[in-house]
Symmetry: C2
Subunit: 218 residues, 2 copies
């Protein structure tokens, strides 16, 4: 993840960074609804009621805008899903927190169009180029975060050692994107809570006797 250097508040640079950030938040929502490929500088200028040349000052091309939008989406995802889970003790509670936060951020419409990355993944899977690469990178990081959490749960003695961390992370990942799909496409209001139950059932079935109790939030 590219992290910009801190900017001094009140300066012109700070104002530029704030504007850029607020533009990108709109871009993320627009892309989550209409797709990243639909995100042109013209379309975004319409949405923001800004001039195209004003936007060009921030992003030199459509591709640059798409890349910055993916990075902003990743920052929002880290803030809503990953960071809060890191406050939980490593082990099953953290793994379960990652899963819950992930489902919750779709349920509470952090991105207007549902899960930004699931949509972007399927949109760009057959479009080679830097945008696809950045999406792949973000998804690999997320799968790595999940499989590390599985390993930590094993080290903490909460999860059976026979579980393959990468495969299990992938299984949990798949169940969650299925839920996003059911929620978003079929309008199935129970999709997310059903899948929350399925994941919890899998975690409990594979847990050890020393695993702390896991509960559904809410």
């Amino acid at each position: 993840m590219k992290v910009s250097p801190p900017v001094k508040p009140g300066t012109r640079v700070a104002k530029g960074a704030r504007t850029r950030e607020s533009i990108l938040r709109v871009a993320v929502n627009l892309a989550s609804v209409e797709g990243l490929e639909g995100l042109s500088i013209g379309r975004l200028a319409d949405e923001l009621k800004m001039s195209k040349s004003g936007l060009f000052a921030h992003f030199g091309s459509k591709e640059e805008l798409q890349l910055a939008t993916v990075e902003m989406a990743r920052e929002i995802f880290v803030a809503h899903v990953i960071r809060p889970a890191l406050t939980k003790p490593p082990g099953m509670p953290r793994l379960w927190s990652l899963c819950q936060n992930w489902l919750e951020h779709v349920e509470s419409r952090v991105f207007e169009g549902g899960c930004f990355f699931t949509a972007a993944s399927f949109e760009f899977d057959s479009r080679p180029g830097p945008v696809r690469e950045l999406i792949v990178q973000a998804m690999r990081k997320w799968l790595l975060t999940l499989s590390r959490a599985v390993e930590e749960a094993q080290k903490a003695g909460h999860l059976q050692d026979s579980v393959d961390p990468q495969r299990f992370a992938f299984e949990v990942y798949s169940l969650a994107i299925g839920a996003h799909w059911g929620h978003q496409l079929l309008g199935d209001r129970k999709a997310l809570s059903n899948v929350r139950g399925t994941i919890l059932g899998r975690l409990r079935a594979l847990s050890t006797a020393s695993c702390p109790p896991l509960r559904k939030a809410g």
Copy 2:
């Protein structure tokens, strides 16, 4: 599924139907790679080296073309995934055959860009209109086919009665779209065979003593 009436071979109508079908097969592949929204009459005319007016004779608008493309994709899916499974005895063998054919049609690139419907689902989940409705309809039919196969496996005494057919169909569905995603986006060659193993493991874990043995094909 709309089924066209049979046409007499050699007639002008038959030729028109054949042309329409071969145009739609190209459209399906194009849409599986570039997305359904990218499928305009102009783009398709380029690909087919046909005139736009020739294409307009078959499809009056972009939306009509998109709808016909979704219907053709559904016919191809039924022919490759559902119909061959119906030759298996109802019960676990048929359920497992549906899952295997589904993964196999992605592996063997029946659609150039991977799984047509998974991609279309995520592309159109936030775009209301007739195209989205037709995709939703196709996906509901597919989930119904899966959950009926789960019920049949229970009636045949192969699968534990405690399994909820709809939820289990959804779980299997989610695992498979996860596999399509890993295969297509991450280029993970093992994604499909890993998920085949995960689904087989789930089916075996929930099967009864009278379930016939299930094997991985290939």
